[in-house]
């Protein structure tokens, strides 16, 4: 008898299991392309083991999404079932489980070569990888797959769950769809994050990203929102945890903090991203990646790496200077970074320093990199052992005190860094001082 379930060995989840329809997606061109997109862009130049790809990450996200769906739907209370009628119909539940796993599988198909590197600067206005993901899921080739399934999957449903409300503000989400999309891309318990922390940590060779995801997944529940303020809360349902899972949720947030501060925001990793962006702007026709799905599917890290190696050793090739900085490891070095004294005076001190140095020595010698985490401590409902629902931030000291990672680097060309550093030392106070509206109008 032919197999209907297929197993794939995985470094994090041991086995990832797929059915025939999921395997059809796996065999599709958009998904196979992910074998050639590094999960962490050029991070392997700093952490040599970090050569893993979006392909295995996407399989891991599907595996975790299925597990979370089963746990939260099996453990829904009558109160939650009355708010979310989809839980009461087995056929509907089966439909959404399949849609969720497909969305998880496809959530990254729109990534550009080298993943996040300079996405905003390298796509036309209004485009990002999520919009490309939407276009691919809704393409004729993928729609043919969704329609062969019984019952057929609506591509709009897969889009909603794959990108979530944050990146699909033009679509309307029901409460049920919001919760399902949170299973994949949510700030608190999104399995996208769970998988990338575990996987990036494993491949980079650092322990920071590990946490007890088995315990966390087992304790996830759909719960009513916890009261916020003494006048009570909303009845809206949200993803939360049983009291016994709070420590594993804390560990997830600490893992995120450490991975951001140690790996994702590592200064040398960041400057390689900027050099890559500069290279791509010169190498790409019109300085942008194409938003045409066919063109997108033809371009992977392999084509870009080939061009980088070619340009690094040929001064006539577009992007030669930037390619050389990457390939020959002549990257810019940190001249200025965020520090508490300057932040006290001007939270945007890096921009002021970058601007002043550019005026003094020429802008081409410097690069500025400003980024901060976009979410703080997650406020999710926790069900205590006595059945009471409270906010995670009311029961966890740890969650309240996880720092926000924020970087503000100015990098300088090695040929000028000493001189620039000396000048900045002499002029720092006046450079950092914010202008305000007295000077700006």
């Amino acid at each position: 008898m032919p197999k209907t379930i297929h197993e794939i060995r995985d470094a994090i989840h041991v086995f990832v299991r797929l059915d025939n329809h999921e395997r059809e997606v796996l065999n599709s061109r958009p998904f196979q392309r992910l074998r050639h997109i590094h999960q962490l862009a050029l991070t392997y130049l700093v952490y040599p083991g970090a050569t893993h790809k979006r392909f295995e990450h996407s399989l891991g996200v599907m595996e975790l999404a299925g597990r979370v769906f089963d746990v939260v739907t099996d453990n829904a209370t009558d109160e939650i079932r009355s708010l979310l009628p989809e839980l009461n119909n087995p056929d509907e539940r089966g439909y959404w489980r399949r849609a969720l796993r497909m969305a998880a599988l496809c959530h990254d198909v729109g990534h550009l070569p080298f993943s996040h590197a300079a996405e905003k600067q390298l796509l036309p206005n209004g485009w990002d990888h999520e919009r490309l993901t939407r276009a691919i899921i809704s393409s004729d080739a993928m729609k043919a797959i969704w329609e062969r399934i019984t019952p057929p999957l609506r591509h709009e449903d897969i889009v909603r769950l794959a990108v979530g409300p944050k990146k699909a503000g033009d679509l309307t989400f029901s409460d049920w769809e919001t919760i399902l999309s949170e299973i994949i891309v949510g700030d608190a318990f999104g399995v996208d994050r769970m998988d990338y922390l575990l996987r990036d940590s494993h491949h980079a060779g650092v322990a920071y990203g590990k946490f007890d995801h088995y315990r966390l997944v087992d304790t996830l529940r759909i719960l009513p929102t916890a009261p916020s303020g003494e006048s009570g809360g909303s009845k809206e349902a949200a993803l939360g945890v049983e009291e016994g899972g709070i420590q594993s949720a804390e560990a997830l947030m600490l893992a995120r903090y450490f991975m951001y501060s140690q790996v994702y925001f590592h200064a040398v990793r960041r400057i390689y991203d900027l050099h890559l962006m500069d290279f791509l702007r010169e190498w790409l026709a019109d300085g942008n990646f194409s938003t045409d799905v066919g063109q997108h599917l033809r371009c992977t890290d392999n084509e870009v790496t080939g061009a980088l190696l070619d340009a690094a050793f040929d001064s006539n090739k577009a992007g030669h200077v930037h390619a050389r900085r990457i390939v020959q490891r002549e990257h810019f070095k940190v001249l200025y970074e965020r520090n508490p004294d300057d932040v006290k005076i001007n939270p945007e001190a890096g921009a002021a320093v970058f601007s002043a140095l550019g005026t003094q020595f020429g802008r081409e010698h410097f690069r500025h990199d400003r980024y901060h985490q976009s979410t703080g401590p997650p406020d999710f409902p926790v069900r205590l052992r006595d059945g009471k629902i409270v906010s995670s931030l009311a029961v966890s000291e740890t969650l309240n005190h996880v720092p926000v990672v924020s970087v503000d680097y100015v990098f300088a060309d090695r040929s000028i860094i000493s001189k620039a550093s000396e000048w900045l030392g002499a002029h720092r106070a006046e450079v950092v001082k914010p202008k305000g509206e007295a000077d700006n109008g």
């Binding site: 708010l83 409300p165 944050k166 503000g169 309307t172 989400f173 409460d175 919001t178 929102t225 916890a226 009261p227 916020s228 303020g229 003494e230 006048s231 009570g232 809360g233 909303s234 009845k235 809206e236 349902a237 949200a238 932040v343 006290k344 005076i345 001007n346 939270p347 945007e348 901060h372 985490q373 976009s374 979410t375 703080g376 401590p377 406020d379 409270v390 906010s391 931030l393 009311a394 000291e397 309240n400 720092p403 926000v404 990672v405 924020s406 914010p434 202008k435 305000g436 509206e437 007295a438």
Partner: protein, 178 residues
């Protein structure tokens, strides 16, 4: 609006909400900012979509996180409830740099803080969703029609509550014009 100017306005709003009795958790700040921007036309440039407890801005969440990293605001954990947001001493310096901007928007900020300061999350959810529904319908609709739309997007809100929210929002919109 540049980031520091916006921080000056947001922190003034937080101060006024608290002065008017608000719990001032994230939801309170989210909904008050929606009204300040879309009802009072203060150009904060946040994008709101229907999400948690009605209209919600991921950009604003990101801005509040960034302001926390810069120690312009802080979280005050509360036993049994979600945390309250408060400003820090550091904000006086930033507000001082943008005193002309604050003078320009102080009346709008005070109006919103007076109207919303005493309201809890459930009331704010109803009111902000009522405002969002009203503002996003192409033509004028009756209170009943808009209440039907509100309960369609937030099914856990009762119809009577939706109708009451629509009445109140019409009143707030009318008052904002005086």
């Amino acid at each position: 609006m540049d980031r520091l100017r916006r921080a000056a306005v947001l922190t003034r709003l937080i101060e006024e909400l608290r002065r008017n009795g608000s719990w001032c958790g994230e939801t309170h700040v989210q909904k008050a900012t929606l009204f300040l921007q879309d009802l009072m036309h203060v150009p904060l440039e946040f994008e709101f979509i229907l999400y948690k407890h009605g209209p919600f801005s991921f950009d604003l969440r990101s801005e509040l996180t960034s302001m926390r990293a810069d120690e312009l605001v802080k979280l005050e954990p509360q036993r049994g409830y979600g945390p309250r947001i408060d400003t820090t001493d550091r904000i006086k310096y930033i507000q001082g740099l943008y005193s002309k901007t604050l003078d320009k928007y102080d009346d709008s900020i005070s109006f919103i803080a007076r109207k919303l300061g005493v309201k809890g999350v459930a009331e704010l959810e109803r009111l902000a969703t009522a405002f969002y529904v009203t503002a996003n319908l192409a033509v004028d609709h009756s209170i009943e029609e808009r209440a039907t739309r509100l309960t369609a997007v937030k099914p856990h809100i009762e119809r009577e509550e939706a109708i009451a929210a629509m009445r109140e929002i019409d009143q707030i919109i009318a008052n904002s014009k005086h």
